[in-house]
């Protein structure tokens, strides 16, 4: 049986109740890794198969004995900016190439508790700064659906690994679209939850006020199962919401969608017709609207206005860069980092400049420098403070829309994935890829990417947004689109 093709919820059943062999599942996945990883470059650290087999068997045994393990034995790919004790945590940067964390992120702890087994740490844009996966110090990841194209970033490795079934489920993080953009370009479901719903403890900070860890899967039910395991209050994260979803609330929402539901949907017209959005993308968004209507939704057209459609992007980059300049200050190679000892009598100031100069890549340095400058006296009001004002306006506008509709529908990517090397050369072109993603981060609203069409055999997702803690509505709507289009459980077979 081809266990690697199964969604997590089915796989769990096969392994725990259907007599499926855990070892053969792991072997199948490792066989695909052997076949495709050289091409894709999706992992930075891969654990040994023996170790993984042992843990999968252990999890399945416990589930068979009756332990509540909704993800028993399921292989989980973890983005390399999320701490897993004992595994390297490079953030795809030379700066952290020798750093091994002594602790595990809350979210990973919870998923492992639910039965998942970490298979490895995935490639990404360096410190999550990038939208194509190409700023990694470990080389770019390729899109398994079209290997000359990027998979999207910054959660590029998780996207490629899950799409090509080099893992069954994955974790990414989303600061300005880093889950939703690659999900849209690799045929995956991806969720950036309501800010504070998922603990950030153990997520290496890039821009904390914006980011969330989130799941990436090939099936909407898996997304719901993962969220039920990982979401909820964490005393170790002060931005964590005092809310924990009850068991079954997300999976039930998925089931509701399979039947169809009378949701009210707002198609965000000026986001779809935005000049940055390509014709291919527009067609897929309109197709998704039709799918929702077929399943019982009522779709209306709404405009978000210029602030949301145009000024959100610069506001986002100002805030993200300012926070980044602060968060990345700690990398001085003193407590952890890479192998580069200070020279005798080298002053710490000189040493810091040297290691930060060598350790960080170009894009990271660009953002640190811009952020430091925009936070400095005399410029702070002009940039940072102004961006915060814009952020409030964007949030107010989106909140009022989200209160009036069950879900908002908009593109998840502005174009189809660029070819490798195409976007990376021009930073502004690169930043423009986030045109439709950053609004959810600025406003803290939950947003989900769902596959809704294919363009020249490459899947393309659209984006759904809802009011704070409106995740169940997102699951229902995504499930409606999945049912109507049949575009789920897509597995890429990379050629080349």
């Amino acid at each position: 049986m081809r266990l690697y093709t199964l969604p997590a919820w089915r796989l769990r059943w096969e392994l725990v109740e259907g007599g499926g062999d855990p070892a053969s599942y792991v072997e199948q996945v490792y066989e695909r890794i052997r076949l495709f990883e050289k091409t894709l470059n999706s992992y930075i650290t891969l654990r040994s198969m023996e170790e993984v087999v042992e843990e999968v068997e252990q999890q399945v045994r416990e589930a068979r004995r009756g332990a509540y393990k909704p993800l028993a034995g399921v292989l989980l790919a973890v983005k390399d900016n999320i701490a897993v004790e004992g595994l390297p945590n490079t953030c795809a940067s030379r700066m952290l190439s020798k750093y091994i964390p002594p602790y595990t992120a809350t979210v990973v702890e919870r998923l492992v508790e639910a039965g998942a087994v970490v298979i490895g740490k995935t490639n990404m844009d360096e410190f999550a700064m990038g939208s194509t996966g190409e700023t990694s110090a470990y080389g770019p990841t390729r899109n398994p659906w079209s290997i000359n194209r990027v998979p999207g970033g910054s959660s590029s490795g998780t996207a490629a690994a899950v799409a090509a079934a080099l893992a069954t489920i994955g974790l990414g993080n989303d600061t300005g679209g880093s889950i939703r953009l690659p999900a849209a370009w690799t045929g995956l479901y991806g969720l950036k939850s309501t800010y504070g719903l998922v603990s950030r403890y153990g997520l290496v900070s890039y821009a904390e006020s914006l980011e969330q860890i989130g799941p990436m899967t090939r099936n909407i039910m898996d997304l719901a199962v993962m969220m039920e395991a990982m979401a909820g209050f964490d005393p170790r994260d002060s931005t964590s919401l005092d809310y924990t979803p009850s068991r079954g609330v997300y999976t039930a929402a998925v089931e509701r969608g399979e039947e169809g539901a009378r949701l009210s949907v707002a198609l965000l017209e000026d986001m779809v017709e935005h000049e940055a959005v390509s014709e291919d993308v527009r067609r897929v968004v309109y197709r998704a609207a039709e799918a929702l209507e077929e399943m019982g939704a009522k779709v209306s057209r709404e405009k978000v206005g210029r602030h949301v459609a145009y000024y959100a992007l610069p506001a986002y980059y100002v805030i993200a860069m300012c926070e980044a300049s602060s968060n990345l200050a700690r990398y001085d190679n003193i407590r952890y980092g890479y192998r580069e000892p200070p020279r005798p009598w080298e002053g710490w100031n000189t040493y810091y400049s040297r290691v930060r100069g060598e350790g960080f890549g170009r894009e990271v340095k660009r953002r640190i420098m811009l952020g430091s400058w925009m936070l400095s006296a005399g410029y702070k009001d002009q940039y940072y403070v102004r961006a915060l004002r814009l952020r409030r306006m964007v949030r107010d506008r989106l909140l009022s829309l989200a209160e009036r509709y069950d879900v908002l529908l908009l593109p998840s990517a502005v174009t189809m994935p660029p070819r490798l090397g195409e976007a990376i050369t021009d930073p502004v072109k690169l930043y423009m890829l986030d045109t439709v993603s950053v609004q959810a981060n600025l406003s803290g609203l939950p947003a989900l990417t769902v596959p809704a069409g294919k363009v020249r055999s490459i899947p393309l997702g659209v984006q759904l947004m809802a009011r704070p803690l409106g995740e169940p509505r997102l699951f229902t709507a995504a499930s409606m689109i999945a049912t109507a289009t049949g575009l789920h459980d897509l597995i890429a077979e990379p050629v080349g």
């Binding site: 964390p101 002594p102 602790y103 950030r200 931005t239 700690r330």
Partner: protein, 487 residues
């Protein structure tokens, strides 16, 4: 010519009484621990670790704010202050910039017989950095330096005064008052090394403001300020205007030295810490803290005046340190005699000798029982006032029991005849048979003398005791004879 001097202080107080650091659960009691043993992902600033505010630190900060008559902020908010330095694990410090936890407080000091109000501008809660250790003792002579992060993340209160002080003595009085308040609140033990660090701003009329950084004790603050006044005045006398600068106090040489000049003003790029969203400080919490405030030094001094009849000045000295005031009250309780005598003895005699050992010698080196014994010996007439004064030195320096010392040193001098006569009287009453024996056999006299010695725990002068016993026996004989003859 006497020029006006203006002094403002910035005091960093570690909340040493907290069990844990400000943002993690590491023990804050790091002194005497090997380096880097009180650390965790949070206080080491490891990637992905997040701070969580220690609620006890908030309570402690509120209590200090209220004790300093300040206004507690409506919400708790933290900012990041950015600068690169190896003792800072994140290369930014979590502090309070825009919204300090406390504003507009004041403290009153007594100076030259009048009360003076020193205003407090603000007080903020922040994390302490780690500590640099130089293998060769100083940065200049060490090819490398080491960092100990045990201190990193310990809760710190920064208290900033208005420039309301006009002399080093006022600064000292202010700091002493503050120290006693902190002790009474039980939030900090300022006597621990590095638990109270002071930056002093001082300007002398005609010159610019000079900041003297990182002075380690109250005594040193007074010295550093005196040095600066002399330095700045002598510059002005020569027609040189003291320039605006930062200096360091060198306690070994008792001079201030200019700090290295930075070419540009440091830009800390303050921004709100996104990991610590502002939280409302509930009015109920402030109320609860206010209601649970302990008796503070001013109130305690008033009570000492009222309850024990002490002069105000003595009461103020006693409450200047919590330990001292506690000690005094313990002595009063055990002693049962005149509280003023106890106060005088502690303030005028004991304190003098404690200087070399520090206030911590109370209880540990000098248990209150010993002071009580001295006071009782004095009351009983066993020792003279002069001997009591001598005993103050003995019990502090030698750390011995005064009673035993008195015995050994032959202080034993109950030669006070009136007192001893009373004892002899008692002995005679209690041992009528022995008295009858003694009237007949001179050898039996020894027993009665022995009993007098026993009653005075060996402190009676035996010669006087014998004489008095014999005299009493004589009297009895005489009376017996007269009775017989009259019969």
């Amino acid at each position: 010519m006497k020029r006006r001097t203006v002094i403002g202080l910035e005091i960093h107080v570690q909340l040493t009484a907290l069990k844990t650091k400000l943002f993690c659960s590491c023990s804050a009691d790091y002194r005497h621990s090997p380096p880097n043993t009180h650390v965790c992902p949070v206080c080491l600033g490891l990637p992905g670790a997040l701070p969580v505010v220690n609620k006890e630190a908030l309570r402690a900060a509120i209590s200090v704010c209220l004790a300093l008559n300040g206004r507690v902020a409506d919400r708790l908010r933290f900012d990041r202050k950015h600068y690169f330095y190896p003792d800072m694990p994140k290369n930014y410090q979590i502090t309070q910039y825009l919204e300090p936890i406390c504003r507009e407080g004041y403290l009153e000091i007594e100076y030259n017989g009048r009360t003076k109000k020193i205003r407090i501008r603000r007080m903020n809660l922040e994390e302490d950095p780690g500590r640099l250790v130089y293998p060769a003792g100083s940065p200049l002579h060490s090819p490398y330096s080491l960092v100990d992060y045990n201190r990193a993340g310990v809760a710190l209160l920064e208290i900033v005064t208005e420039p309301d002080m006009e002399s080093p003595e006022e600064a000292r009085l202010f700091l002493e008052k503050l120290r006693s308040i902190l002790e009474h609140l039980g939030v900090s033990d300022p006597s621990l090394e590095g638990a109270m660090r002071v930056d002093a701003n001082i300007s002398v009329e005609g010159g610019e403001r000079v900041e003297v950084k990182n002075i380690g004790s109250i005594h040193e603050v007074e010295r550093a300020l005196m040095y600066e006044i002399v330095r700045q005045n002598s510059l002005l006398d020569k027609g040189v205007k003291p320039k605006r600068e930062t200096r360091h106090w060198d306690p070994a040489h008792r001079v201030t030295i200019p700090a290295r000049v930075k070419e540009t003003e440091e830009d800390y790029r303050y921004m709100p810490d996104p990991n610590l969203p502002p939280v409302r400080i509930p009015a109920e919490l402030v109320k609860a803290v206010a209601e649970s405030l302990p008796e503070l030094p001013d109130k305690r001094a008033e009570r000492f005046v009222r309850e024990y009849g002490l002069p105000r000045k003595t009461a103020r000295v006693l409450v200047s340190r919590k330990l001292l005031a506690d000690f005094y009250e313990d002595v009063v309780k055990m002693y049962g005699g005149d509280p003023r005598r106890a106060a005088n003895y502690i303030v005028n005699d004991l304190l003098n000798w404690l200087k070399d050992y520090g206030i911590k010698a109370l209880y540990s080196r000098v248990p209150p029982e010993r002071v009580v014994k001295v006071l009782k010996l004095l009351d009983e007439g066993v020792i003279s006032i002069r001997q009591a004064k001598e005993l103050a030195e003995v019990i502090v320096k030698k750390g011995v029991d005064p009673e035993e010392y008195v015995k050994k040193a032959g202080y034993v001098k109950i030669s006070d005849e009136e007192y001893l006569s009373r004892i002899v009287e008692e002995v005679f009453k209690e041992h009528p048979k022995a008295v009858r024996d003694a009237l007949e056999k001179p050898k039996a006299v020894n027993f009665l003398v022995g009993m007098v010695m026993a009653k005075t725990r060996g402190r009676a002068d035996p010669v006087v005791a014998r004489r008095l016993v014999l005299r009493r026996l004589e009297e009895l004989r005489a009376r017996g004879a007269s009775q017989t003859s009259s019969r």
